[in-house]
């Protein structure tokens, strides 16, 4: 039996609103576990607080009540053993691809660093672009740099906050395929936030489906589909439709889902 990598326990968050004294509840009693080596996606409606959840789990934002344990230890701040991949522009624009990927390798010798950069540049398909600056790359390539930077630091867990959200459709599909290939090689635990249900079903072992704000997990869906996933298999479509329905959406455009 695998150990839980991340345990979220009775997590609630309330933010101070714009008007004085107003309190806005964002997350309400979220509890869940992510197992070691597991790929978990969090889906929910836009603005429901799923990014807030990830920011708390990563240690960037404190919880109001409840806590997050990683390997049994409460999270109080970000840690290099758990690297966060941002939606966009997370790479440093003043560093080249090579320097960005080396950023998390400060303890290593030059030789080790060069070897790791070579390995991960190749893994994300950026060989030949090492000396370029992010502004010279496309959005998809910049996300590849960020994923390589995260992997090179050799974390136990990778948190991804809609990492492909700003990319075009075809690039997104390609990035998903590559991410799964990388995950199968590297065997990291991945917690991946997205508003794209299809993306979640294509990627995840399990999916946490969130409600509207104040958000909680309304259901955890097991995606028991073999990889590589066939996007028109009945099982894939059934899982996808189940989540669409959980989120109160109809698949037929123009039809009201709320009775």
């Amino acid at each position: 039996m695998k150990q839980p990598a991340v345990s979220i326990r009775d997590l609630s968050v309330t933010f101070a609103g714009k008007r004085n004294g107003e309190m806005v509840p964002v997350l309400h009693d979220v509890s869940a576990e992510v197992m070691e080596g597991e790929f978990v996606c969090v889906v929910g409606p836009s603005g429901c607080g799923k990014s807030t959840l990830l920011n708390i789990v990563a240690g960037f934002v404190p919880a109001t009540t409840g806590d997050v344990l990683v390997e049994g230890v409460p999270v109080t701040r970000p840690d290099p053993r758990r690297i966060f991949v941002f939606q966009e522009n997370g790479v440093f624009p003043w560093l080249t691809v090579r320097e960005n990927i080396s950023f998390g390798l400060r303890g290593k010798t030059n030789q080790e660093r060069a070897e790791l950069v070579r390995r991960y540049v190749e893994m994300v398909g950026l060989t030949g672009f090492e000396e370029m600056y992010p502004r010279e790359l496309s959005g998809g390539m910049r996300q590849r740099v960020e994923i390589a930077r995260a992997l090179a630091a050799d974390p136990d867990i990778i948190y991804m906050d809609e990492p492909f959200g700003a990319l075009d459709f075809l690039t997104r599909l390609k990035m998903r395929t590559d991410l799964i290939r990388i995950w199968q090689t590297e065997r990291k635990t991945i917690l991946f936030v997205t508003h794209d249900i299809e993306e979640a079903v294509q990627l995840a072992d399990r999916i946490f489906v969130m409600t509207q704000r104040p958000a909680t997990i309304q259901k955890i869906v097991d995606v028991d589909l073999p990889r590589p996933r066939n996007l028109d298999s009945p099982d894939y479509l059934r899982t996808r439709d189940e989540i669409f329905q959980l989120m109160g959406m109809s698949l037929r455009v123009g039809e009201s889902a709320v009775p």
Partner: protein, 292 residues
């Protein structure tokens, strides 16, 4: 693995389409007669416009002086002869070096103190609370107003204008560095925290680098102000430099040709200084910060 969207893998084999249609005779001959003049964005026009404007200005100036029969105000020709006279006497180079020397010291001091101070105040909000009112009160006081104080403290020496130039440039530099840190993208900060940087590493590797484009803009503004102030300071606090040249030429014999010669040199050197600082914006490490 293939990269989907690569700027390097574009189609390099585009060739110009071959035009086989017969050219109309009239159009061809018209093109031959004036290809530069007909295109308003040609390189010729890009040079002709500013040069023409300067020539027009100089002509109008010369005419105005002649028509008004001014005994003192020089024509452009007088000014050129004035500059030649200053070169002959060896004064021009001496004064330019004196002015640049003072600006270099005052300005370097302002950068060395202003940039770190701005980064620290931008980062530590409690320090900012404490220092900000003081900065905002000192900032609007013109460096010219400090001239009597500078003479009191430093006497008639190089230290007085250097102090004034420092005062003039340290505020724009500090304020731009503070604003840069305060407006820094949260994502850079979080990425840095995530990789476990120490405070020193955070400042050197992330905060400073992220703020550098805006700091350079502040430095450009500050250098412009510093050059304005050195001239004013030299009129009162010292006995050399371009500012001294102007005031001395007027006092010792109403040599307005030399006054204007000094002004022209100030303008040209100011232009050159700005062009030099602009080169800083072209480095790869900061180019991302200037969106075009």
């Amino acid at each position: 693995m293939k990269v989907l969207s690569s700027p390097m893998l574009g189609n390099q084999t585009n060739s110009a389409p071959i035009d086989v249609s017969p050219q109309p005779v009239i159009a061809a001959s018209a093109r031959k007669s004036a290809p530069w003049l007909r295109n308003p964005d040609s390189r010729l026009w890009k040079i002709v416009r500013p040069v023409g404007m300067v020539a027009l200005f100089l002509t109008a100036w010369g005419l105005a002086v002649r028509l008004s029969h001014s005994a003192l105000f020089p024509t452009p020709g007088n000014v050129v002869r004035g500059i030649a006279e200053l070169i002959e006497k060896g004064l021009l180079l001496k004064y330019i070096i004196a002015s640049l020397f003072r600006v270099s010291w005052g300005f370097t001091l302002a950068v060395v103190i202003g940039v770190p101070l701005g980064l620290v105040l931008g980062w530590y909000s409690r320090a900012f609370q404490a220092f900000n009112p003081l900065i905002q009160i000192f900032r609007p006081i013109s460096p010219i107003a400090w001239i009597p104080v500078a003479i009191l403290w430093f006497g008639v020496s190089d230290a007085a204008p250097i102090f004034l130039i420092f005062l003039a440039s340290v505020f724009p530099i500090t304020v731009s560095a503070i604003a840069a840190v305060q407006n820094m993208q949260l994502v850079y900060l979080r990425a840095a925290q995530n990789f476990g940087l120490s405070t020193g590493e955070l400042f050197r590797q992330v905060i400073f680098r992220a703020c550098l484009p805006q700091i350079i803009t502040g430095i450009r503004i500050a250098l412009g102000v510093a050059w304005l102030v050195v001239v004013a300071a030299e009129m009162i606090a010292v006995n050399s430099g371009l500012g001294y040249l102007i005031i001395d030429a007027r006092n010792a014999g109403k040599r307005y040709d030399l006054v204007v010669a000094g002004m022209v040199m100030i303008g040209l050197i100011g232009l050159i200084l700005d062009l030099l600082v602009r080169q800083l914006e072209k480095f790869d490490e900061v180019r991302w910060g200037y969106s075009r």
